[in-house]
């Protein structure tokens, strides 16, 4: 099969995916069975130790010269059986597990798990808990996209971008540390509310983050968006059509960059996203530049949401006052026998969730993050499945890389923004 690079169209079907048994790619003895044709084609591995694969992604590529003909992402190097672990943890402990999946947006993971548990429990959230969750998730979206800008810049050789992205992300991580006690893996959003109220003076912090990030984004625009070298490197590279994206179940910035205005925050609002004003950023052709622009402007939209939350934050409880879900405060345990019993029950057998099953989806920085939760009425889930957006989005790699150069493959892999912790779970 020879492919002209100019005429190569991204397509689905057998030709777009490297259909080889896994062993053929690993065992050198088996390589003799693969037909090399004119001797120009070869199959090479990129990863799992390659620095541009964002962790332990391995991509098997069939090359003709410098051109990628077919490729297949091979994953599982970070698999630790987190869905099995979830079956052995109580619902209260569950958030500590899911937060480690997508380690760049841990709060989105905690949110989707908590929403699923609360859906089965049918508990009402106090408004302040909902708005704190929204605030934290939007800050998390900003930090995650800033991290993406940093690593994407690094992959394209723009070291300045890496330093800049990390610098701005640090601002947000410091706020997380102040609020949750940890920079990552917070276990802050829990079934029944959030772990703690916002710290004193959070308004000034948010105001500072808002102003700084918006100012820096304008700087990025000057440094990168208008840069001819950068533009030439990303424009027209790795195009993904809207039809292909929908067929392959692609979500998040990838789908929006292809021109599909689908953002669960807007189209099927959860939390209080229907009460804040923001735009859904959409691209046109779905190339690497569109994906850059979508993410860059999503930071702006998130910053605007955060600014609105600052004005609208309601007062009140930050946890549901349901003694079957929320543990009593320490002081109550000394005074009330009932509180002691509730505390004991909650920490030995866990929150008892009624029998049932539910699927809840939220818009994480990477796309539709879903949680399918099955309860059999005990304190531990019968099944907890996380629909990880990067896991599904990786399916876009074969059509994205088809016909592009190896050097552009690095940029395209980066533009998918896979977080391997979430892919492999």
């Amino acid at each position: 099969m020879t492919t002209d690079r100019e005429t190569a169209q991204p397509q689905i079907g057998n030709s777009a995916v490297l259909r080889l048994p896994e062993s053929s790619g690993i065992d050198t003895d088996d390589l003799g069975e693969i037909e090399f044709g004119s001797g120009e084609k070869m199959i090479v591995n990129m990863g799992p130790q390659h620095p541009s694969t964002h962790g332990v992604l391995r991509v098997m590529m069939e090359l003709e010269g410098e051109t990628v003909l077919r490729c297949k992402p091979i994953i599982g190097y970070l698999h630790t059986g987190m869905e099995k672990t979830a079956e052995e943890l109580t619902y209260a402990q569950g958030a500590t597990n899911v937060t480690r999946m997508d380690y760049l947006s841990p709060l989105a993971n905690e949110l989707v798990f908590s929403l699923a548990v609360e859906d089965l429990l049918a508990v009402e959230m106090p408004p302040r808990a909902t708005w704190i969750r929204m605030l934290m998730c939007e800050l998390n979206r900003m930090s995650s996209h800033l991290m993406w800008l940093a690593t994407n810049g690094m992959d394209l050789g723009a070291t300045t971008m890496m330093i800049f992205g990390f610098r701005e992300r640090e601002l947000i991580l410091s706020f997380f540390e102040k609020t949750t006690g940890l920079r990552m893996n917070h276990n802050y959003i829990r079934p029944g509310g959030v772990a703690a109220d916002l710290p004193d003076g959070w308004e000034e912090d948010i105001e500072a983050i808002y102003k700084t990030v918006l100012f820096r984004l304008d700087e990025y625009d000057e440094f990168f968006t208008g840069q001819p070298i950068f533009r030439e490197r990303v424009e027209g590279v790795g195009t993904l059509s809207a039809e292909t994206a929908i067929e392959l179940s692609i979500t998040g910035p990838l789908l929006r960059a292809s021109g599909v205005p689908w953002d669960i925050r807007k189209t099927m609002p959860y939390l209080a996203y229907d009460e804040v004003d923001f735009d859904v950023i959409v691209g046109t052709v779905g190339d690497n530049f569109d994906r850059y622009a979508v993410r860059l402007n999503e930071i702006r939209e998130s910053a605007n949401i955060v600014r609105q939350i600052l004005d609208k934050m309601p007062k009140g409880d930050y946890r549901a006052q349901d003694s079957k879900v929320t543990p009593p405060p320490r002081a109550r345990i000394d005074q009330s026998m009932e509180a002691l019993i509730h505390h004991f029950k909650l920490f030995t057998e866990g929150i008892l969730v009624p029998e049932g099953e539910t699927y809840v989806a939220v818009e994480s920085p990477r796309g539709e993050l879903g949680c399918y939760l099955v309860s059999d009425g005990t304190g531990r889930p019968l099944r907890m499945h996380v629909r990880a957006p990067s896991f599904v989005n990786l399916q876009a790699l074969p059509p994205l890389l088809r016909g592009s150069l190896v050097a552009d493959a690095v940029a395209s892999i980066s533009s998918v923004d896979p977080v391997m912790g979430e892919v492999d779970r």
Partner: protein
């Protein structure tokens, strides 16, 4: 999440003769068996559910007598497919029962190419065989792995880290 409308009770409707239920929070669920699964999915695709959000397996070994509609007989395994309609902003869930004796179900990669990885994961974790899948190999575990870890009878903490060249204790 689909919103529950007050005038819509959880009165069972049917899609292609298969029972439909609503969860307490208003999510729509269709129950199916292996034989009508593929036709049902095709029907839902034609009905406007253009996007496959999620597919996963579930093992009900420890809770086989779960609540199900009368027309559906409980089986050990289930494949759960969550579909989404971009146009109507609506979700629907398909729960297909798969018997333990023959855990085989037709693939739906031909309808929704995006479920390819998810079906591979369900095969990897539960040993459910998707007939007609173009590349049904293990996806997360090493290819020489024995057993399917998310099955309820697969005990944890027994097998140490197992690599391709090293034989495990079993």
């Amino acid at each position: 999440m689909t919103e529950s409308k007050p005038n819509e009770t959880s009165v069972d409707q049917t899609i292609m003769g298969l029972p439909v239920q609503k969860t307490p929070s208003g999510q729509k669920v269709v129950f199916s068996d292996v034989s009508s699964y593929h036709k049902l999915v095709e029907h839902l695709f034609d009905d406007g559910f253009n996007f496959a959000s999620d597919l996963c397996g579930v093992d009900y070994l420890t809770n086989i007598n779960r609540k199900l509609p009368d027309a559906i007989s409980p089986e050990r395994f289930e494949v759960v497919l969550n579909l989404l309609s971009h146009g109507r902003k609506e979700r629907i869930r398909v729960r297909a029962m798969i018997p333990e004796s023959d855990p085989t179900i037709p693939t739906i990669v031909d309808v929704y190419p995006g479920v390819e990885n998810m079906e591979r994961e369900a095969f990897d974790m539960f040993g459910i065989i998707f007939k007609g899948h173009p590349d049904l190999t293990r996806i997360l575990l090493p290819e020489g792995w024995e057993g399917h870890p998310l099955r309820k009878d697969y005990s944890t903490g027994r097998v140490p880290v197992q690599f391709k060249e090293t034989l495990g204790p079993r």
